[in-house]
Symmetry: none
Subunit: 400 residues, 2 copies
DNA sequence: TCCAGAGATGAATCCACCC
DNA sequence: GGGGTGGATTCATCTCTGG
């Protein structure tokens, strides 16, 4: 519950040996840039500089401070160092020196999707977090996650043993019945964390650059500490770590060299605001309103799926006469004429010069094609097959 | 198309300077363990050792070999070094030395889901691939992926401009209509790749430890090379890189110190087999080559694919008159009549009472349907669209 | 040759509007 | 009014252009 304003090298010296359960730090990444950001109401601009004379300067700066972090940690404590590709390899070499190779626990990958841009290499969509403990007897709470939807839950619930060749097989009783095992809590958390990046529109945003999502910090704090333990962030910035610690009922200490950052952190702690990420709450699957059948058709057409429009299911990847080509798949029990009207209505709003309707059901409505030169109706493969089979069955039942 | 047996340090010396477009290497990771694995029939055990006297020994070993890799690369070439957390930081320091910091392009995270029981730390679910180019003028093919389901695609298709306050707004014409923009190809691939770990039961599995999925290698090869370029793998192991190169029509060279690995690679190259786990079949992969186009059609028909039959590509999951229904997709440059004959020949041998041919190209051959009451010919979706677009273009060019 | 400024971009939230 | 729909908004890069 303490905030220190100052260089953490000096401020850390005020903290006792063996007194902290978790250090999380999000230092400058060695990007060689100045990071600036305005609050969304343009009321105020925050910035910090991350430019250095040399890599060695930066590494020396980091090593001095990591040594202090090591000192203040309890024997059961651990440290999570957040960085990115700019200097992650050098930082890990230093961590090996300060904490010892044997205390390296994990390289955590925080992966996210983000607004993108063109680039002649791959889009960056992850940052690295190095997890070291102070000793080999460290506090670790396993977090369980849900089974992935592709896992066969029945299989997980079966007990296993090894056959004479040492291969794992499912255990069976004398009668050959499967033996199910005790209750399972889910899958232990892995070292790749897919957590949404703080969206530019999120209310959680403070206007401080490089702000991290509270959800990320909550996960780290849950892993390494229990209720009432102490969390330290020597580069606290906008104070996300401390807000997460407060929400989770941990004690917290923050240090930052910038007066503005300290003021912002104090303000946030009075008024912790956490974005309820719909994406995370509902899961990605909830946004996918296409079933497997529709997805397969769109894939086959080389079309993008559209998830948020009732008249259009997708767009072809190639334009026609300079305009996108809308695709709609007739829904089960949807009348053909209704489907056409919906599609054409939505297409016209988008200025499409061609639309495709995939017809999936027999429907003998009269369609005036002269009215719709900008529409192609295609019978789905399975409709053609179904029609053929039924015609044929009918014929073979009829005596000639 | 060459395989060398021997230490790659020596074998690389036989390769000319500036002659290779892509080096992928998956060297020992410095795990300090011996890796063993049996083939699925328990018939044979492959192993290799990854134990070293010291880290420095290992790093010297790697540096000597990376220098040779650098030498053989073309000016437009690049290298992908696959490793894991054991020594990734040290390897990247060496890569910085050999290729130069300015030629670092990406840290690719290959993430996968795995069974786990880890109690004292997070389950490892990723490996690292470092992507360096030889110069700053390197070959790079952007791969496009689908938009996120949370993205509103009809919005993405609108052009934008800035208003007098510098705010981005959607562009409209004089009548207030939306202006849509040029073709969109999708979202450029990011540096986090979720590709399923080779399932222990996958057909693709050879029994060689540390075998990588072909899909991973295909992606790397597509990014860094074009048709006919040369791919080199100095630690080729079971030969996955070379198999992927062969499937994608690239030239390839492999080196391995183990006679068994070379023999296995030769065998796999004669018989390139590619399996997709269910996860990928559900549509996370990009559909680019012919093979994948066919997979999409079969999936669309709810048919399962068959391998190695020139007359039949798959069978419907539902029978017709008690007999299976054979499916064939007309190949590129395959004449329609020839395709029909192949399909009917193979179908009759299996006693099918109905066969489907998916027609993918314009072909005006005369077909006597009275002769073939057991055959349905279906125009592929893209053929219908192509026909329509071309007819229309023709019409609009013709003066009335 | 290098720097500044403008333009393009898409994820995911916010929020106005509509029944 | 409140739940759902879909348009509006914002940011962090990267590329391109002009001086």
């Amino acid at each position: 519950m303490t905030l220190y304003k100052g260089d953490c090298l000096n401020e850390l010296k005020k903290i006792d040996d063996d007194s902290i359960d978790l250090v999380y730090l999000d230092p400058p990444f060695f990007t060689q840039k100045t990071h600036k950001l305005k609050t969304r109401d343009n009321g105020r601009e925050y910035e910090f500089t991350d430019t250095w004379n040399s890599l060695d300067d930066y590494l020396l700066f980091m090593k001095e401070r990591l040594l202090e972090c090591q000192r203040v940690l309890k024997k059961t404590g651990s440290i999570f160092l957040h960085c990115d590709k700019s200097a992650s390899h050098h930082l890990r070499v230093i961590l090996d020196q300060v904490f010892g190779l044997c205390n390296f626990q994990n390289e955590i990958i925080w992966s996210y999707k983000r607004w993108s841009n063109s680039k002649t290499s791959l889009q960056n969509a992850h940052q690295n977090i190095y997890f070291y403990s102070k000793t080999n007897n460290f506090k670790f709470n396993t977090i369980y996650t849900d089974y992935s939807p592709t896992t066969n839950i029945d299989q997980i619930l079966q007990e296993r043993e090894r056959d004479k060749n040492g291969k794992a097989i499912y255990k069976k009783d004398e009668l050959g019945n499967i033996i199910t095992c005790k209750d399972k809590k889910g899958v232990p958390l892995s070292d790749v964390w897919e957590i949404p990046f703080l969206n530019p529109k999120a209310n959680e945003r403070t206007g401080y650059p490089t702000q991290k999502p509270i959800l990320l910090l909550e996960q780290i704090i849950k892993i390494a500490t229990d209720d009432g333990d102490t969390v330290l962030d020597p580069f606290c910035g906008s104070g996300t770590t401390l807000v997460a610690a407060k929400i989770l009922n941990r004690k917290y200490t923050g240090i930052d060299i910038s007066e503005e950052a300290i003021a912002l952190t104090e303000h946030r702690l009075e008024n912790p605001m956490k974005t309820k990420s719909d994406l995370l709450r509902k899961g990605k699957a909830d946004y996918l309103n296409k079933n497997e059948y529709e997805t397969a058709i769109l894939k086959n057409l080389d079309a993008f799926p559209v998830q948020r429009n009732s008249g259009i299911d997708g767009f072809l990847k190639t334009n026609y006469l300079g305009k996108p080509v809308a695709v709609k798949i007739q829904k089960e029990n949807e009348e053909l004429n209704l489907a056409i009207n919906k599609l054409l209505g939505a297409s016209r709003k988008r200025g499409c010069k061609l639309s495709l309707l995939i017809k999936t059901s027999r429907d003998l409505s009269f369609i005036d094609f002269n009215k719709h030169s900008d529409l192609i109706i295609i019978d789905s493969y399975d409709l053609i097959i179904k029609n053929h089979m039924e015609t044929h069955k009918f014929l073979s039942r009829t005596p000639f």
